[in-house]
């Protein structure tokens, strides 16, 4: 089986709709097929990666800790659109410090989140075999 490039594009806020959680579950399931997986976070989707999420008042499970497990599933390319962060007054420091261990580099911990411009992101999207939008 040849390895394909899969990108999951996340555009919606984490709670209020089921999109973010469904996307995350599909990513974790898809990871079992050992494809080349990346995630993109644009528009309100950047809120999915916010630090310090607290869902006690909204009656939904806080699934944000699960993003920390992505590294274990060899999902370590999380592209966050720079413009989307800026429009919301956010910087990468407002996001969870997600990391993965690089097997090819003595298991060094490296950041999974990469902030890219809209232009860079569209170039990366162009390289994909499959783009799934949530």
């Amino acid at each position: 089986m040849s390895v394909k490039k899969f990108m999951y594009v996340n555009r919606k806020a984490p709670y209020g709709t089921i999109y973010a959680l469904e996307s995350l579950e599909v990513v974790l399931i898809g990871a079992a097929f050992e494809q080349d997986v990346s995630l993109a976070f644009v528009d309100d989707g950047v809120y999915q990666l916010m630090k310090g999420q607290d869902t006690s008042e909204v009656g939904m499970k806080n699934f944000s800790p699960t993003y920390n497990a992505l590294g274990d599933y060899d999902v370590n390319k999380l592209y966050v659109e720079k413009e989307s962060l800026e429009e919301r007054g956010l910087t990468v420091d407002d996001l969870m410090p997600l990391t993965y261990e690089d097997e090819n580099d003595d298991y060094k911990e490296k950041p999974s989140i990469r902030v890219v411009t809209s232009e860079e992101l569209s170039a990366i999207m162009d390289e994909q075999d499959v783009v799934l939008s949530f």
């Binding site: 579950e25 974790l28 399931i29 079992a32 699934f63 800790p65 699960t66 497990a69 599933y73």
Partner: protein, 110 residues
């Protein structure tokens, strides 16, 4: 099919996974193992406890590949391999151990 533990009836899904995480106690694991005709040893508990900690931290039950790797990292390579884990949990280490640990079925498991 609900299970009886210490005189209490606990709800499970159709595959025997606990419906409510908070219903879990070590006795639940013992009862589930007994129903499968299995005795839980310290080696089993090591994996069950590991899974509960993993769930606590990440809010998911890990897939078997991830479990194997993570066990290897924490408990050593002699335990972080399929052979060792399948000997302990012949029905599939992730599925069976997650069930005993009171967790949902691992994401991505069919």
């Amino acid at each position: 099919m609900p299970i009886e533990v210490n005189g209490k009836t606990l709800e499970t899904d159709e595959e025997g996974y606990l419906a409510n995480l908070s219903d879990w106690s070590p006795e639940v694991a013992e009862a589930m193992a007994k129903a499968d005709g299995q005795e839980l040893t310290d080696a089993h508990w090591e994996v069950i406890n590991f899974l509960r900690e993993y769930y606590e931290e990440y809010q998911i039950a890990p897939a078997v590949r991830v479990l194997t790797k993570a066990i290897g990292k924490k408990l050593g390579a002699d335990k972080g391999n399929s052979k060792y884990l399948y000997e302990l949990f012949p029905y599939g280490p992730a599925k069976q151990a997650c069930k005993y640990a009171g967790l949902p079925k691992p994401t991505g498991c069919v």
